[in-house]
Amino acid sequence: MAKLELRGVTKTYGKTVGVANIDLTVEDNEFFCIFGPPSTGKSTILRLFLGLETPDSGEVCIGGEVVNGRLPAERDLAMVFQNLALFPHMTAGENLAFPLAERKTPKAERERRVNEVADKLHIGPLLNKIPAHLSGGERQRVAIGRALVRDSNALLMDEPISALDARLREEMRVELKRLQREMHRTLVYVTHDQEEAMSVADRLCIIRDGGIAQIGTPQEIYNAPNSRYVAEVIGAPPMNFIAGAIGEGGAFSADGLDLALTFKTNGAAGPGDVGVRPEDIVIEREAPGGHAVAATIYEVEPLGGFTVVALSVGDSVLRAQITGQPQFTLGEPVHLSLALDKCHLFASADGARIATGATG
């Protein structure tokens, strides 16, 4: 297993920028997740590592060595695609053994490795079946197994479970994380599903328009997004934003709302947005005083264990996430207050985070 790096890599396709001057390091044995909306450059990063694309500038490194000139076959990386290309005429076992057979691994060793991987993936009983007789989830396991069966510098996966249904995806992401831990592999994993990314990643890299928006642990990114963009794409329901103006001394006043908060802004001023996560809004029926804001109930979305309440505040709608199954009537007047220490302040101009934590 090896460390993977991109050093100042740019790749353009005609006038379209794939990735622009990217620096990133995937540590040895790390579960590194690349997250972003469709066509932001996620897959380009994988293709650069694999050698399927040549960078316009910059260095691609595997295990500390620059591999720009090396052919894909010489890079020794294993890949799992979203469209799992299993050989339809081979059994699951033969599919698993294929990368070993290709490398002329002795038969006994081949069998040992196939059985080991099949065991880890719980697909032992399926080895004699052909792909057509397997379910979607089982086929996916075989495809992942085929990438795991031989030692390689690293594993690369491009949306490997996005075609499965929701329930199966929840199970598979836990399986993948377990496998990566047990087998000590470096894994670069591309997904557009923020919950999946949060769940599996040791570190998360958020891509925006071919550049890196933020790299950090899922907790760091969730609790301290460095920009409004990152705050918007991580977390569901998404973070709420309240537009307003940042004045002298860090006083924020919301547009059209009776809400005044103070942040430590180090002199930054101008238009700003306060961001607050749905779970950091408290709804109260009685006016609690202080910094509470008057609101009315817009819609109520019960989810069983928790409830998402959409609130009409001024001209905008904010979402609060409340534990349990509270009852509200549509149009009911309520008061909402914000968990001040969890409020973020972003500059409207460039979306950069100015501060986290307010005083009332």
């Binding site: 909306p37 469709p38 249904d165 929701a166 329930r167 929840e170 836990v174 994380k177 377990r178 557009h192 599903d193 923020q194 919950e195 949060m198 769940s199 899922p218 907790q219 969730y222 918007e232 794409v233 991580i234 977390g235 569901a236 329901p237 998404p238 996560r277 749905p278 779970e279 817009y298 819609e299 979305e301 019960p302 989810l303 069983g304 264990g305 928790f306 998402v308 959409a310 709608v317 979402r319 996430q321 534990t323 199954q325 549509l330």
Partner: protein, 367 residues
């Protein structure tokens, strides 16, 4: 007035019974979700309501009248499909106004309604743009707008949000529900996503293999699942279902989980459920948010389990636990932390827990 009644509705495709003796009553202005896995018969049911398919048995009634002989065009239903059929060469405005122009509405009335719906769907800026240039999210909103603008009394939607990205889907769920409240249409919504059904519907019809499993409000279906299928299908992560045996001794009733431990039954709701048990083989159901985790003391009589995995996903933390033969997922707060491999005592929170007959898969006391 536009209520819908399905009476013993049956539809076969060759040997396959797609919809089997379905009885369902949808009230005027009600938002009903038809929910189930692929192949459960939900889309066929919607096609029968619309008149795209004809039933092999039973009736579809609108306001009490059998519409069996009324063709698709005359049923007065609006449709939104997963694959939005948009005229891509026309502007957004034209796509919206089209249905009203066909009906010969006055120009200022058309203009007013186009702007009204465009505002509701956040498409006002995009009105002059050719639809081909819209993003996926905008295209989907336009699809909804185009059907909604004609103000049909019955609105049928087949997985209309499934192509949208997650953050936007959350916003659209609220907006769609709000739209329905404002327009006062009867809405039938087909989805395989329990979260969509929970958040939007007034009532949910859970289907499996062409058969109605349960019909009730989101919280009824979530809180009192009638059988194991519904219990598993609703909620994310789904309900923990642990095989156990009901035992009786001098000390009272208890659930025996073999090597994982025993739970003595003191909880009134559970004792009441037990009273209708016909055999001792049961499943004990516990929602992930109703699981209480505590350090092992040995005297509380919970299940002894080991933490196998911890998922921090934003506002919630999902803790995975395992023991010999049982698995449990628990939902904890954002800041909860525990080491993998740590032993834990697992018990239901007071008042939480459901029992199902292991043979019939029906909830005890569900009748």
């Amino acid at each position: 007035m536009s209520s819908i009644e399905l009476v013993n509705l049956t539809k076969r495709f060759g040997d396959l019974v797609a919809v089997n003796e379905l009885n369902l009553e949808i009230k005027d202005k009600e938002f009903v979700a038809l929910l189930g896995p692929s192949g459960c018969g939900k889309t066929t049911t919607m096609n029968l309501i619309a008149g795209i398919e004809n039933p092999d048995g039973g009736e579809v009634r609108f306001d009490g009248k059998n519409v069996g002989s009324v063709p698709l065009r005359k049923r007065g239903v609006g449709f939104v499909f997963q694959n939005y059929a948009i005229f891509t060469h026309m502007t957004t405005y034209k796509n919206l106004s089209f249905a009203l122009e066909v009906r010969g509405l006055p120009r200022d009335e058309i203009d007013r309604r186009v702007h009204e719906i465009a505002k509701l769907l956040d498409l006002e800026d995009r009105l002059p743009v050719p639809a081909a240039r819209l993003g996926v999210n905008e295209m989907q909103r336009l699809g909804i707008g185009r059907s909604a603008i004609a103000n049909p009394q019955i609105f049928l939607l087949d997985e209309p949000l499934s192509n949208l990205d997650a953050a936007f889907r959350a916003v659209m769920r609220t907006e769609l529900k709000h739209l329905q409240h404002q327009l006062g249409q009867t809405m039938v919504y087909v989805t395989h996503d329990q979260l969509e059904a929970m958040t939007m519907a007034d009532r949910i019809a859970v289907m499996d293999m062409g058969v109605l499993q349960q019909y009730g409000t989101p919280l009824e279906v979530y809180n009192r699942p009638r059988n194991l299928f519904v219990a598993r299908f609703m909620g994310s992560p789904s309900m923990n279902l642990l095989y156990c045996r009901l035992t009786e001794s001098d000390g009272g009733r208890a659930l025996d989980f073999d090597e994982s431990g025993r739970v003595e039954l003191h909880d009134e709701a559970l004792l009441k459920q037990c009273a209708s048990a016909r055999n001792a083989d049961l499943y004990f159901g516990m929602r992930p948010e109703d699981v209480e985790l505590s350090p092992v003391t040995g005297d509380r009589g919970g299940l002894a389990m080991t933490v196998t995995f911890v998922e921090h996903i934003g506002a919630r933390t999902i803790v995975h636990l395992r023991s010999a033969g049982h698995e449990v997922k628990a939902i904890e707060r954002n800041d909860f932390d525990v080491d993998i491999g740590a032993p834990m005592e697992v018990s239901p929170k007071p008042g939480a827990g459901w029992l199902f007959d292991a043979a019939t898969e029906i909830a005890l006391g569900a009748g």
